[in-house]
């Protein structure tokens, strides 16, 4: 039994990882076909030279940084507030927003923006994408920060207030520092979900907001340029690194 389980687990992990590993391996293949020729970095060079890919990376970075900064602040505040005293309505909203199908989030935000534009002279673009990303990454931040708050417990803050600190001082000097690893982990998570999103982004994107996932999607539909393998490998490694850092932070 035990041995069979181990054999199965090996197959299971292979199933999880082999697709990405082969993709990464073939990004170093000189041939544009799926037959191994020889090692080459040509597709990486091609990816870096492609203005559309690089434009997508640039837009994605700007959008992800903004969305992360905003959603981390709001989400941390929310987690802290809920930790003090819960709110079923807000918690329910957070859960619901987490499970809303992406396509529904996308079209409802598009409907919202279209409706708002009747009064505001805004346009679809960077701002709308950042807003949309903030909208869907807040629940992730709240969950990670809340978990951290639960492990810290209220005793330290209570002690600080007994010693004469006011609410803000207790938060700023006592809770926030011990919360930092959780916040950083949450921010990294928000960064990855923002950097990865395609469905919602494509619905609300306009000028200046063609993100990397949109470029990858277009290339995947076309389906043959191995430059996308190179991009995918880099994205995977980048994400992996961010998540490992985030995990370390959470364990601290």
């Amino acid at each position: 039994m035990k041995r069979w389980l181990a054999v199965y687990a090996a197959a299971f992990f292979a199933f999880l990882h082999l697709p990405l590993l082969t993709l990464a391996a073939f990004s170093f293949n000189s041939s544009r076909f799926t037959v191994w020729e020889r090692f080459s970095l040509d597709w990486y060079r091609a990816a870096f030279r492609d203005p559309q890919i690089m434009g997508g990376v640039w837009n994605s970075v700007i959008i992800a940084l903004w969305a992360t900064a905003i959603s981390t602040v709001i989400g941390t505040g929310c987690a802290y507030g809920l930790w003090k005293r819960g709110s079923r309505l807000l918690t329910g909203g957070l859960y619901l927003s987490l499970v809303t199908p992406e396509i529904v989030t996308g079209i409802s935000l598009l409907a919202l923006f279209q409706w708002m534009f009747r009064w505001l002279h805004w346009q679809l673009g960077l701002y709308t994408v950042v807003l949309a990303h903030v909208a869907f990454s807040i629940p992730f931040v709240v969950i990670v920060v809340s978990a951290r708050l639960r492990t810290i417990g209220p005793t330290l803050e209570e002690a600080a207030m007994d010693l004469g600190a006011n609410e803000w001082q207790a938060f700023r000097r006592v809770t926030l520092p011990s919360l930092m690893p959780g916040i950083i982990a949450a921010a990294l998570l928000a960064l990855t979900v923002s950097f990865d999103d395609y469905v919602i982004t494509s619905m609300v994107a306009g000028v200046d907001s063609e993100t990397l996932p949109m470029v990858i999607y277009a290339m995947a539909r076309r389906g043959a340029s191995p430059a996308i393998n190179a991009i995918s490998a880099m994205v995977t490694v980048g994400f992996g690194a961010l998540i490992l850092i985030s995990e370390r932070m959470r364990e601290r």
Binding site: F33, L65, L110, Q123, L124, G206, R222
Partner: protein, 340 residues
């Protein structure tokens, strides 16, 4: 201290995307422009152009319909001009700023869909036909050949209700713009009968799959087909015997645009013979521009894929804007085909 650096970094990042040059935002079909077209325009007029691409009219319309998409110039197909105008999305063209209109081919000076060229400048035209690998025997020459079981799994159709239903209608000897419910239902049955053979419904994305040999036959636009043929000479293109649709993509200015003057400059720039000829060379389109056509090398001008000979051209049909009721029925039929 760290925080301050982070915030400064953020604002610096945001600042980088600022450029003081006037901007123009252009949204066009993928692979529909020469690599140097935009940079030269930017250099000559001292402006900055944001250029992005779409794969279908619907993708573009979904954005344009918000009325604040941010785009100035888009390129709808001729039969989308009427609905866009009805929805108040288009800006009327100022002919004083479009000195290059005289370069247009006489066919496109007063087209049926826009007789005064008040809303759109004909840009490029093309047709839908069949692109196939020469190993396919016998070579397809009619839409009906796309119902050949030998093509199972190696055939794609366009991801476009108009073209798929159109091919079925033509196979049945009907008009592309059929409005009769019975005719449309008959076309639907044809499409559903064909579906088991169809590998996927794809637009221009199929090009690379044709080149790599994954797909052996495809319903495709002549422009995209010629791009594929250039990359893989064993591909060929056929104008179906039953008849085929002709499309003209038109450059229009969205009413939301706050840069109407610059947008006109861009349209006028695209009308220049040398610019248009370069686009044809780079992307294998058929230009609506007579003056540009005369600049093309003989081999391109006589390319039967891009510029079908008169007898073939005569089989073509320009699809019309459909009445709303028909459009609804067609939308429903399309959903039925997709979920069959």
């Amino acid at each position: 201290m760290n925080r301050r650096i982070f915030l400064m970094g953020l604002s610096a990042l945001a600042g980088c995307s600022r450029d003081t040059r006037p901007r123009l935002n252009v949204y066009n079909w993928s692979s529909y422009i020469a690599p140097e077209t935009v940079p030269r325009f930017e250099a000559e007029f001292g402006v900055q152009v944001r250029y992005a691409t779409y794969e279908s009219n619907e993708e573009m319309l979904a954005k344009a319909l918000t009325g604040n998409s941010g785009w100035d110039v888009v390129f709808p197909t001729h039969n989308r001009l009427a609905p866009m105008r009805e929805n108040g999305l288009l800006a009327r063209l100022n002919h004083q700023w479009l000195t290059g209109l005289d370069n247009l081919d006489p066919r496109f000076r007063a087209p049926a869909w826009d007789p005064e060229l008040a809303w759109g400048v004909p840009y490029m035209w093309n047709a839908t036909g069949i692109v196939y690998h020469r190993s396919v025997q016998p070579p397809p020459g009619r839409w009906a050949d796309l119902w050949n079981p030998a093509l199972k799994g190696r055939l794609t159709m366009l991801d476009d209700p108009e073209d798929v239903l159109g091919a079925c209608l033509k196979k049945l000897g009907r008009s592309f713009s059929a409005t009769d419910a019975n005719e449309l239902r008959a076309a639907e049955r044809e499409a559903i009968a064909q579906k088991p053979l169809v590998r996927a419904y794809l637009n221009a994305e199929v090009r690379d799959q044709l080149v790599s040999g994954d797909v052996l036959a495809a319903q495709l636009w002549s422009t995209t087909a010629q791009q594929a043929i250039d990359a893989e000479p064993r591909l060929a293109f056929a104008y179906p015997a039953e008849g085929f649709p002709l499309y003209c993509d038109c450059a229009v200015i969205l009413r939301e645009s706050r840069r109407a003057r610059l947008a006109h400059e861009f349209l006028n720039y695209l009308l220049r013979p040398d610019v248009s000829a370069r686009i044809v060379q780079a992307t294998k389109t058929a230009t609506a521009n007579r003056a540009a056509w005369s600049l093309l090398p003989e081999a391109v001008r006589t390319n039967p894929v891009l510029y079908p000979p008169a007898d073939v051209y005569a089989r073509g049909e320009w699809p019309q804007t459909l009445p709303p009721g028909t459009q609804r029925l067609r939308d429903r039929i399309w959903t039925e085909i997709k979920s069959a």
